[in-house]
Amino acid sequence: MKNSINLTTKSKITWCPGCPNSQILVALRQVIEDMVKDNRLKIENVVMAAGIGCHGKITDYLNTNSFTGLHGRVIPAMTGIKCANPNLTVIGSCGDGDAYSEGLEHLIHAARRNSDIKIFIHDNQLFALTTGQASARSPKGFKGKSTPFGSIEEPFNPLLAMLAVGATFVARTYAGDIQGTKRVIQAAVIHKGFSFVDIIQPCITFFDTIDFFKERIFWIDEKEPVNDLKKAMELVNRDNDKVPLGIFYNVEKATFEGQIHNI
């Protein structure tokens, strides 16, 4: 069959059985497969990047070019890859510990300079691979192994921060909704510029928020305009009563790499 590809590898999947990371893997793999089949992507031009954390195993499970970087440091590497070869589509997975706790500056600067890279945050609101400590996303009062009396810190709002610093594509999705996640991932990959997607990925072992989110998530109306920054900021800044999913903001700007090669 034309353009048929096998993106699985010999690696045994070692995420916990039932971990939503597997759903993100399926969604991502299917988007790549679909886009390659439709000739919208060449598989040799796909580079998967990942940092360190549970999410980071994803590069072992995808038979694509890959760059498994350091904890919190994969985003500048992705910009480097895109600068070196603008024909590549650079897709990166990061964890919330890996992008919001350590290395947050890289996320902000990549967004600010509109680096043409696609970031998917596997957001489980804690450090899971190190067996359950608070991350920048853990809610106040979170009891983990390093915060036995409850975290005293307010959590970070990544979507609001990304909008504030100039990200040109800002979205959120929920790992358990594979079809919805695929739609967002595909739009993010197609977007020319910095794409930021926070994927809610409950950690079923250390912080099971599946029921919490099932009650609160809802998809925003896709027909609403996506170029209204103020409205997008309001949408992502609401209290935890409801958790909106979808593409909040999607505009075009000159990319960093495009400008580098136009000097």
Binding site: T9, K10, S11, K42, E44, N45, V47, I52, K57, T59, D60, N63, T64, N65, S66, F67, T68, G69, L70, R73, V74, I75, P76, A77, M78, T79, G80, I81, K82, C83, A84, N85, N87, L88, G103, E105, H106, H109, I260, H261, I263
Partner: protein
């Protein structure tokens, strides 16, 4: 035997406030003297601030090679009164001071050698900014040195090409005429003779001989040609006054650099400035990201995608990069890193020098892994180190450090940057497209064929985890050991070619049992002092500090009666390295750690004491 270390060398000092253009004036004079055929060394000292602090540029020149600058001044251009007070104790007998005005005490002290030159006034009259007043002093200096002004103009035009050309030329003319009108004469103030002006090469002569011809007010010849310095052999290339940072950058360009990534930090910033300014000519892309961590990780991405990349920082910035430095080795990505030392620990003395990071860089990064560290001693070696580092990084797929320091980075010397031996090696590039490519294929020499993303039917996986030959995480004991052995096999391969590399350089009397060992920019003062030593000595410069060329170093040091190790640090780091690698103990150490380089007269005295 001993000669005065300042004879035959003429030194001009320019002192003023930060923002007065002291550095630029020094560079202009240096370029001028270089064009006239002189050998020049320019130092520049400044505190870590932008305006107001005292800046000082010193230009030493001679007809023979000048390896470092000389403290004793023949001319002081004082752009403010402070400069006179700070430097008056450094003046040679009969030295001349140029200033806008003098305090009565100064006139009493210096008499006719205190020469009023209307610098500020002239630039004001022309409506030019105050910074251009340097040019008046430059013109006056030309007259004093006996340089024939009409012929100088051509050279000045080149020097001032982009810097307010008309005003600067006019102001230089005013300075020159001012001294001429005064009919200023002084017995000791004369440029060293260009003794080779009777060269059989006509073209050469016409370029170099400018100063000696015409109706210049030349008086006596001060210069004494040093026999130890080889005659200039241009081979069609022209010499330039260049600092180590620029020379290193040019070396990278010559070896096909694609990207330079840097975050500003003195004294490595000059590399960033040079390569950024030259982008349109060279095609190199220059990026300044948000931090040193971003710098090195971005560079790793660039190397992975198949482009030649270098980064640079002071050692403090490099300290921030440790984890990613280790990653470069694990992922086997070719990366060149310039590390320029300044006085540490911590922020230390930001604008002054040190050689205290040798042991740090050879051990930097967590884990055990091969790396190459080259420590050039002058701008010409920095140029070659830049080019060779890029080739070596690609050939061996590992990080290569070029270790510089403030003196080497920011002080300039007449240099010949010759790219004819630069190879542009890309190493083993894969042509395997059968779908079974493995980035970390085990090979006898440890070097796996490289492929890059974007190659059809090829999956290139790299990672900071220990991995199997396909780049997938692997933590089984036998596979961990196999990969460590593979990476260290590269060192074995590299050892085999050390004999073909210039890892150690030897100068002076190679049969002498008295040996001076040095590395890095200490080469300058050591080579300069060697012109005047009481006894014949052998000089051994160690260029490759990792891997250490044990065989060559042992060969050079074996049987020595005296080994004097000279370096700018507290602990004698090179002495420790020599002992660790060869078992040879140096007999004497001359160490300096006040953040200033060795001064020629002082070092000469110290070495002579050790030799006696």
């Amino acid at each position: 035997m001993s000669k005065d270390p300042h004879s035959g060398i003429f030194t001009v000092g320019i002192g003023g406030a930060a923002g007065d253009g002291v550095r630029e004036a020094g560079q202009s004079l240096g370029a001028l003297l270089c064009d006239l055929g002189y050998e020049v060394f320019i130092s520049f000292n400044y505190p870590s601030l932008i305006r107001g602090g005292h800046n000082f540029s010193r230009i030493s020149f001679s007809e023979g090679k000048v390896w470092c600058d000389h403290e004793r001044l023949d001319v002081l251009i004082a752009l403010n009164e402070e400069a006179i007070q700070i430097h008056k104790n450094e003046l040679n007998k009969n030295a001349v001071i140029f200033a806008d005005s003098f305090e009565p005490d100064d006139i009493k002290e210096f008499g006719a050698n205190a020469v009023i030159v209307p610098m500020l006034e002239s630039s004001k009259e022309l409506g030019a900014p105050p910074i251009t007043r340097n040019s008046v002093a430059l013109g006056a200096t030309c007259y004093l040195l006996g340089l024939h002004f009409p012929q100088m103009q051509k050279v000045l035009q080149e020097v001032f090409k982009e810097k307010r050309l008309e005003a600067n030329i006019k102001l230089a003319d005013i300075g020159y005429e001012h001294l001429k009108k005064m009919n200023f004469r002084h017995s000791k103030s004369s440029a060293p003779s260009l003794g080779r002006e009777q060269s059989s090469n006509e073209a050469d002569t016409s370029r170099r001989g400018l100063a000696a011809r015409g109706d210049s007010p030349r008086r006596e010849v001060v210069g004494e040609v040093s026999e130890t310095v080889p005659m200039r052999s241009d081979g069609g290339l022209s010499k330039e006054v260049v600092d180590g940072n620029v020379a290193f950058g040019k070396g990278l360009e010559a070896a096909g650099l694609d990207f330079y990534i840097g975050y500003p930090m003195t004294p490595a910033t000059g590399i960033l400035h040079y390569l950024a300014g030259n982008q349109n000519k060279s095609g190199v892309k220059v990026i300044q990201p948000e931090s040193e961590l971003s710098v090195i990780n971005m560079a790793l991405g660039i190397a992975y995608a198949g482009k030649r990349v270098a980064i640079g920082s002071a050692t403090g910035g490099f300290a921030l990069m440790q984890e990613a430095f280790s990653f470069a080795s694990m992922a086997e990505l070719p990366l060149v890193i310039a590390v320029s030392q300044r006085q540490a620990p911590a922020t230390g003395v930001p604008t002054y020098s040190s050689q205290s990071d040798l042991q740090m860089v050879i051990h930097s990064g967590h884990g055990e892994f091969p790396r190459i560290v080259i420590a050039p001693g002058d701008a010409e070696e920095a140029f070659l180190a830049g080019a060779n580092a890029l080739d070596l990084a690609w050939k061996y797929q590992l990080p290569v450090i070029v270790l510089l320091d403030k003196i080497l980075s920011e002080h300039s010397a007449t240099s010949l940057l010759d790219s004819k031996n630069i190879k542009m090696e890309y190493g083993k590039v894969s042509d395997n497209m059968d779908g079974n490519y493995g980035r970390y294929k085990i090979t006898p020499d440890g070097i796996s064929p490289m492929a890059f993303p974007g190659t059809s039917n090829t999956v290139v996986k790299i990672t900071g985890y220990e991995h199997d030959s396909s780049g997938i995480t692997a933590d089984e004991a036998d596979s961990v050991k196999a990969m460590i052995d593979k990476r260290f096999a590269k060192t074995e391969t590299l050892f085999k070619e050390l004999s073909n590399r210039e890892t150690v350089k030897v100068y002076g009397d190679t049969n002498s049992k008295n040996i001076i060992v040095f590395w890095g920019s200490t080469k300058g003062p050591v080579m300069e002092v060697a012109k005047y030593l009481n006894k014949p000595v052998k000089l051994a410069q160690i260029l490759w500090v990792e891997p250490f060329d044990i065989e060559k170093v042992m060969r050079e040091l074996k049987g020595a009666e005296k080994i004097i190790n000279i370096e700018c640090n507290h602990n004698g780091q090179m002495a420790a390295l020599i002992r660790e690698k060869t078992g040879i103990e140096v007999t004497d150490n001359i160490l300096k750690y006040d953040s200033r380089p060795f001064e020629v007269a002082e070092l000469l005295k110290q070495i002579n004491e050790k030799l006696n």
